[in-house]
Amino acid sequence: MQGVSNVSLELGPGITGILGPNGAGKSTLMKLVLGLARPSLGHVRIDGRDPASDWELRSRFGFVPEYDCFYDHMTAREYVAHFLQLQGVAPNEAGERAAALLDDVGLGDAMERRIRTYSRGMRQKAKFARAIAHDPDLLVLDEPFQGTDPTTRRLLMELIRNWADAGRTILLSSHILHDVEALTDRIVFLSGGQMLAVGDRHAIQELMPHVRQKVRLTPADAGQRPQLARLLLEQPSVEGVSLQRDWVEVDTTDAEAFHALLPPLLRKAKIAIHGIDSPGEDLEALYEKLVGGEQWEA
């Protein structure tokens, strides 16, 4: 198990994505939140209560683990109803609610089949149904899309968005950037058990002062490109400039300072800009930079 350290995080309603490569400590962090593991230093609190010792608090948790966790001899309906009964729901009502939920996630026709005969996607749906059956406030989803086909993935994403819209707190881990990016802007980057950054992609950029970033400036008049390049090269926050056919590409290690100086600079030089964008600012690029440790370089 990968340990985690220096993780300080507050979760509120909505989706928070935990991103990191395999072995980053994502599952450990989730187990800490759920009370399945206890921190040796620090604490985890859910509404001020300790999830490791407060068993009643667990009625508010819904958990979809990364791994399979089924009773092989049970059908999906028995499985969901079994856990509903542990939530204090009467047997008949548990059976009815389980059937309705399984129908909602697209397992209506297969709910009386033993789970061991299910495909990977069907198993994932059964896990989701079990996790939400008791209407929890906090949903912890560990690699929820692993092994699912595109249709199942779309369905599960829609369900997650609906739960978030209903005001639930959702903690979702993935090592697939696209999955997290598609669901939320609030991202926690983990690697080697360390929290490298937290926030949306822009906030994360600000947390990385030493990461080299590219900014692309497209002048309205392409003939002004050499003048713009010379001007930018004189600025201390600019590491390098390259002249392209329609734009000027700037390398900077202090994006915030660069963006602050840009408007007065352009006004003074009377250069009109058609567009500014950061080609390397997508989540994939940030992820690679963070996990590669580039932000720690002086």
Binding site: L34, L36, R58, F61, P65, D72, F83, Q85, Q87, G88
Partner: protein, 296 residues
């Protein structure tokens, strides 16, 4: 925490599905079915005896009851002795612990293997609310898996002795089933504790059974074993068959200057029940505590 009544109601509600599923899981497990089928094989002795003694058994009717005699021996007494030997020398010391061991692994270790324990730990239940129905399911499962073949064997063997023997030796069957129930409870709790304690419970359970229970099961040291208290519970119920402490390994040799005599070290039967229940409660509480604190 609610009142005692509320706690009991909650325990029943939470425990019912766990117990029902546990019994089903236990009794339908391949290992249970195989062992139970093997346990029935001594019943074949009855068929062999019937074949071997055909035409040689005399039937006498005494006060409306049939008594059968074979080569001058009253058959029901012979069969009762045979059943006693099977029950107290083979099934109770050896088989019950083995079945309870397999059952406890099926009930608890599979929760770890299938990783459903983590789902239970994220459910709003205390571990004793899960463990108690499992203990009861394991006890019932072991009792049914061993008790059913034993009852069948009793009926098959004693049927040869005639209707008198079937009724006459019901106390023997009662002693066997009573001892079996206590054994099922005590062994299941101990094996559940081992399953909660270690990641690979099978070797540890086997060591406990083979080294502790069987090797310490003779002499003075047997007071530290479950089997001693099981035999002590059964002893007074077997007096009518002239079974003494010595026959049940409940006696130690006392040597004086001129002779050696066997002295009973049997514990009072109700004290034995008390010790077995205390062992069960202790193992149960320790296992619950361990599961509650287990980290994943």
């Amino acid at each position: 925490m609610g009142s005692v009544g509320e706690e009991v109601a909650r325990l029943l509600q939470i425990g019912r599905p766990v117990f029902r599923d546990g019994v089903r899981q236990f009794l339908l497990a391949r290992s249970t079915l195989i062992v139970s089928a093997l346990l029935l094989t001594p019943g074949l002795l009855s068929g062999w005896f019937w074949y071997d003694s055909r035409g040689k058994v005399e039937t006498q009717v005494i006060a409306g009851d049939e008594v059968r005699v074979f080569e001058g021996e009253v058959l029901h007494a012979e069969m009762a002795n045979l059943f006693y030997g099977l029950a107290f020398e083979l099934y109770l010391p050896l088989v019950v612990a083995l079945v309870a061991l397999l059952g406890a692994a099926e009930l608890l270790n599979t929760e770890f293997k299938q990783k459903t324990m983590q789902l239970l730990r994220t459910s709003p239940v205390r571990m004793y609310e899960i463990l108690l129905p499992k203990l009861l399911a394991g006890t019932l499962g072991t009792f049914v898996a061993v008790g059913t073949p034993l009852t069948v064997i009793y009926l098959a063997l004693l049927a040869h002795g005639g209707s008198f023997g079937l009724r006459e030796h019901l106390p023997l069957l009662g002693a066997v089933l009573g001892t079996l129930l206590l054994a099922s409870l005590a062994y299941t709790s101990i094996f559940l504790l081992i399953n909660a304690l270690v990641r690979r419970p099978l070797p540890v359970s086997l060591v406990y059974w083979l080294v502790w229970e069987l090797m310490l099961g003779d002499g003075d040291s047997q007071r530290f074993t479950v089997i001693h208290y099981l035999r002590s519970f059964a002893l007074p119920r077997l007096k009518y068959l002239d079974i003494e402490a010595d026959s049940l390994n409940l006696a130690v040799e006392t040597v004086t200057d001129f002779s050696a005599t066997m002295t009973s070290i049997a514990t009072d039967p109700w004290q034995s029940v008390g010790v077995l229940l205390a062992v069960t409660a202790l193992a149960f509480m320790l296992a619950s505590r361990l599961l509650e604190r287990k980290q994943f």
